[in-house]
């Protein structure tokens, strides 16, 4: 039995029913199921499409597609952090390294000022607020786009939502556990913590800029690099 377009549509629906929501992952699974169904029905022609499909699905084991999706997500997240790292490296090369160094020195020098703690907290709060704001905005936009096209791309979602969320959590926890939580304690920091704080606040600015401005701006390019089929559909 050669599968028709209706069958393929059915298979896309089937993957959605089994918790695969991203088009990139769906497509690969649909092609796999389709090949297997064609072979199964060649061996036993009396089997219906649905029975052959279920027989093929069983081969994925008791957890179905869950493992494939979970592993894919963690690989994509890894890829995203590799891209961040690629852009971070630029800030430690000429000419940007001068700006990085200037930022670090200014934040370090600022620490002698009475209200330095509040400057630090404001920068941190501002970046975190911006991240949450952009995540909500992108989430709405992505839901609208999904309504229009019926397709979601995993890496796009990481660039616009999950990746920013991850870096927001990372910053949140670092601040919570490693930074002083009041102005007095801030003034009493030892040398090591003073340097760490200046590095941390510089990192917040660079990381915020990369995740909120640089990567989304290059989004289309990165998506085409990740998905050769992105232009095809």
């Amino acid at each position: 039995m050669k599968l028709t377009n209706t069958h393929i549509e059915e298979l896309y629906k089937f993957t959605r029913q089994h918790y695969v929501y991203h088009y990139d992952v769906q497509s690969e699974l649909v092609d796999h199921l389709a090949n297997d169904i064609e072979e199964i029905s060649e061996a036993s022609p009396k089997l219906s499409f649905e029975d052959a499909r279920d027989k093929s699905f069983k081969k994925f084991g008791v957890f179905g597609f869950t493992d494939v999706v979970e592993k894919k997500k963690s690989q994509m997240t890894k890829k995203y952090f590799k891209i961040i790292f690629r852009f971070v490296k630029e800030w430690f090369r000429l000419p940007k390294i001068i700006l990085t160094f200037l930022l670090f020195v200014s934040f370090y020098k600022l620490q002698i000022v009475q209200n330095a703690y509040y400057v630090y907290v404001s920068i941190y709060g501002f970046v975190l607020f911006l991240e949450v704001f952009i995540i909500i905005k992108n989430k709405k936009r992505s839901a609208k786009k999904f309504k229009e096209t019926g397709k979601k791309w995993m890496f796009k979602e990481i660039i616009l939502i999950n990746g920013i969320l991850n870096s927001a959590f990372l910053l949140f926890y670092i601040f919570l556990y490693f930074m002083p939580n009041n102005a007095t304690e801030f003034l009493l920091m030892g040398n090591f913590r003073r340097v760490f704080s200046a590095i941390f606040i510089t990192t917040i600015l660079i990381l915020g800029y990369i995740t909120l401005v640089v990567i989304p701006k290059k989004g289309e390019e990165l998506l085409q690099e990740t998905y050769p089929e992105y232009k095809l559909v």
Binding site: S27, D31, K59, V68, K72, P228, V233
Partner: protein
């Protein structure tokens, strides 16, 4: 070295023992197949393994795709997508570093098999 040789050295028959012994070799098997076949898609890989091992080793779907995606994320595989009939097909092929890694992995595998042979059957030598 032919494709079949990877499996000629198997120590325990999967039907007698279990598929667990193969688990750690999945990446090597995939890389080796891609080294001799230019580009392949997921289903093709499962079929090829079945054919080469005469059905003795079946790569489970739930393990194959995560392994392929990991190799892709590590930069060892590159992907191509083509429209075949009414569906999209994702092909995998080795990158330059993937080709280098294949050679390393095969060397490691040979070493492992030699060591295992010495352990389980000291009188028998592959050399």
């Amino acid at each position: 070295m032919t494709d079949l040789q990877i499996n000629n050295y198997t120590i325990i028959h999967p039907k007698m023992g279990n598929q667990k012994l193969y688990k750690g070799s999945l990446q090597t098997i995939i890389l080796k197949l891609l080294a001799s076949n230019d580009k392949m898609y997921g289903y093709e890989i499962t079929q090829k393994v079945k054919e080469l091992t005469k059905g003795e080793l079946k790569i489970t779907e739930g393990a194959l795709y995560p392994a392929l995606h990991k190799l892709e994320a590590d930069g060892l595989l590159d992907v191509e997508v083509a429209k075949v009939g009414n569906r999209l097909r994702k092909y995998y092929k080795l990158t330059e570093s993937g080709a280098r890694e294949t050679a390393n992995k095969l060397e490691e595998m040979q070493e492992f098999l030699r060591t295992m042979q010495h352990l389980v059957n000291p009188k028998f030598s592959l050399e």
